[in-house]
Symmetry: C2
Subunit: 198 residues, 2 copies
């Protein structure tokens, strides 16, 4: 397969999804975002389902790269940067369109094995990154040794997912969840010895 | 309107939704769950949209009653009971079918004002109940006075919503989030003086 052409089709899928949402997405919409015809798209992906599975794979790579690219001097700053980035809204975030579409895609997951398999990877890569940061912080003494990295990573992944869904579905701002999450990290995870007294 | 008949139609909608999901739900499916014809349902609700808005109102009343019915001797036990009930899975919970449908309904909310308005009430009633319990606990000294009831309620509501979505979409158990949430309440919210040393 011509990688450039395939990649162009996946990027066009991204744009079409942001504009039309998942339920109304058609190959015609995707074709309108490229210089390719519907027939040419069919040449690369023989069904809408195959295209969409490839698209979720492509989106996953971007998501995983982005999560990996977020850094911080120490585990505490690293975790706060990650949470800040994932819970950013409005002008701070380029993600609004794709987040809306992803809530729709999630709603299809119970009925579609391929989508479910792909979505699991998004949650896993985030939980794994949080686990790693927490373990690093426990090892270097910045996080309290009583913190359970596995359990805490699950908890924060659920909170982030819920904040996204509520933001998309009913328009809640994520700012308050971000504030509460920051507070949680500072008061619950950070070791007593490294806390700065206000 | 004949209240009994209207109520019967809404209960039939509930059963049909659990069986067929939201995307595939038709008046025919709903009629099949009652002794009423499609025409009779039309007599009570003049569109599928009107029926569905009434159904969400009906579901909201049940949800609000259920949340209100959960009690505990003191605020700490009250909050833990509420979280346990909302994060119960499998045999412990009768909610599996409706939770799946509600994730689908949430995905429609960005495109449908009536659905969005109804869904906002579900989140609000839960956040309000958590806020009230937290304030009661601060007042009677069982929760730490530094706890911000508003912010903490938003945080826990997001976590519960995220746990439901991930459970429905990718089949994650909610047990670990429940454990982490219990731990959060005990270590972060409960006042030092009322903590029982293990």
């Amino acid at each position: 397969m011509d990688d450039d052409a395939a990649n162009e089709i996946l990027c066009a899928t991204h744009r079409a999804l942001c504009t039309h949402g998942y339920a109304d997405l058609t190959l015609k919409h995707i074709a309108a975002e490229t210089d390719k015809s519907k027939a040419a798209i069919h040449y690369y992906y023989d069904s809408k389902a195959a295209l969409f599975t490839a698209f979720l794979g492509h989106l996953y790579e971007q998501y995983a790269d982005r999560i990996e690219s977020i850094s911080g001097d120490r585990p505490r700053e690293h975790l706060q940067s990650l949470l800040d980035e994932l819970l950013a809204t409005g002008d701070e975030s380029p993600d609004e369109g794709i987040r809306t579409a992803m809530v729709e895609v999630r709603a299809q997951a119970p009925y579609d094995d391929a989508i479910r398999t792909q979505l699991t990877r998004f949650d896993e890569v985030l939980a794994e990154e949080i686990r790693t940061i927490l373990q690093d912080g426990i090892d270097d003494g910045s996080f309290d040794e009583s913190v359970d990295p596995e359990l805490t990573a699950e908890f924060l992944t659920a909170t982030i997912s819920g904040a996204h869904t509520r933001h998309v579905a009913v328009g809640y701002s994520m700012d308050r969840v971000r504030d509460a999450t920051r507070q949680y990290v500072e008061t619950r995870l950070v070791a007593e010895t490294t806390k700065v007294t206000p």
